[in-house]
Amino acid sequence: MSDEAPKPIGQEFIKGLWRENPVFIAVLGLCPALAVTNSLINGLAMGLCTCFVLIGSSLLISALRKLIPKPVRISMFILVIAGFVTIVDLALKALFPATHKDLGAFIALIVVNCLILGRQEAFSSKNRILPSLADASGMALGFTLALAMIGGLREILGSGSLLGINLFGDRFEPWVIMIMPPGGFFTLGGLLFLFAWIEKRRKPQVPETPQPPQSMAV
């Protein structure tokens, strides 16, 4: 397919934050988004690890895109991604053993995060380095943002704290469910509901207009 018309780099970056947010809008990479986000710090850590892997592999793949034969591209992507993930895994283990313990197997599972592979397939392998960098960092940041949001919410309600700092005093009754599996689903569902609500409030009662087809005689 022909190369997409180049868009401003800024736009490539911004879109991942909100308009095409990987978690809230595209609903990708859900497993880590829910599995490890029982606290803000875990969400952030996971987000940053994903950032590293996504940006790193996007750069590499975009740089090598001319060299990658189409039939084996997916395997090559996975190889590259797996390499980066192993690096993160080892680095975390060496530098932040406590965080590594909290995130557990999910660091390894970044390899199969649909988001990362999806970006390689949809963007990096078709675009030059700079746009790929913008796209990857936008997406990664959007992902991190979403994880932080989910993690923050779950931590506030589930532990009464944020970043480990106690918010409401000792007598706060934490909602344990929020840091357990159902809480993950409920939080993301609730956030999606909230966004839909805000969206509806913002543009009241204007039904979306489909492109009006003109009458034509070509």
Partner: protein, 192 residues
């Protein structure tokens, strides 16, 4: 060593891969719209998980002790390769089976649940048999969750769900409620 029944039921119900480990959520939400696809997806999952478990066990026994840092790469590579090989084999041997399961195979080889299975199995030092039972339990659990979800979603299509939650948000709420319902199994067979 934990007993096999516990491994099986734990993966099937108590620590269901989808509902309490959040693994394989993308296909969970993706193909649970219809019951027959859900069933076939589940079957394909059980199949791939079994293969994965065997591969992971083989790698853990013979290859990885030499280079633990290659675990991830090896897992993902070998699993993908083996599944692809099997896929071709099925295609040749049984077109019917391929039609029923085949289209899902490539879809799930690079899926969290599969890699998750391999990694958990490794972390918990499961042997060959334990791994196999674990894979069956996990695959069965995934199928169970998928099928239940599909039944619920199909039923839900007939209801007038408010616009604000319709779609993805509703699916998350349903998954959350299912996850809550599965909590009742916690501790099953653990205390014996």
């Amino acid at each position: 060593m934990e007993n096999l029944a516990y491994i099986f039921f734990s993966a099937l119900l108590i620590n269901n891969f989808t509902l309490s480990y959040f693994l394989g959520l993308c296909p969970f939400f993706g193909v649970s719209g219809r019951l027959d696809t859900a069933l076939r997806m589940g079957a394909a999952n059980i199949f791939v998980m079994t293969i994965t478990s065997i591969c992971a066990w083989a790698l853990n026994t013979w290859v990885l002790p030499h280079a633990p840092y290659l675990r991830l790469i090896c897992f993902i590579f070998v699993i993908a390769g083996t599944v692809q090989l099997t896929e071709m084999l099925i295609k040749k041997l049984s077109p019917v089976l391929f039609k029923a399961l085949g289209i899902f195979l490539p879809l799930i080889t690079t899926n969290c649940a599969i890699l998750g299975l391999a990694i958990f199995q490794t972390n918990r030092d499961y042997g060959f048999l334990e791994g196999l039972v674990f894979a069956l339990g996990a695959g069965g659990g995934l199928t169970l969750a998928l099928v239940i979800m599909a039944g619920i979603r199909r039923e839900n299509e007939l209801a007038s769900v408010p616009d604000l939650v319709k779609g993805t948000a509703m699916n998350f709420f349903i998954a959350g409620i299912l996850s809550l319902a599965f909590m009742g199994f916690a501790g099953l067979f653990a205390t014996t």
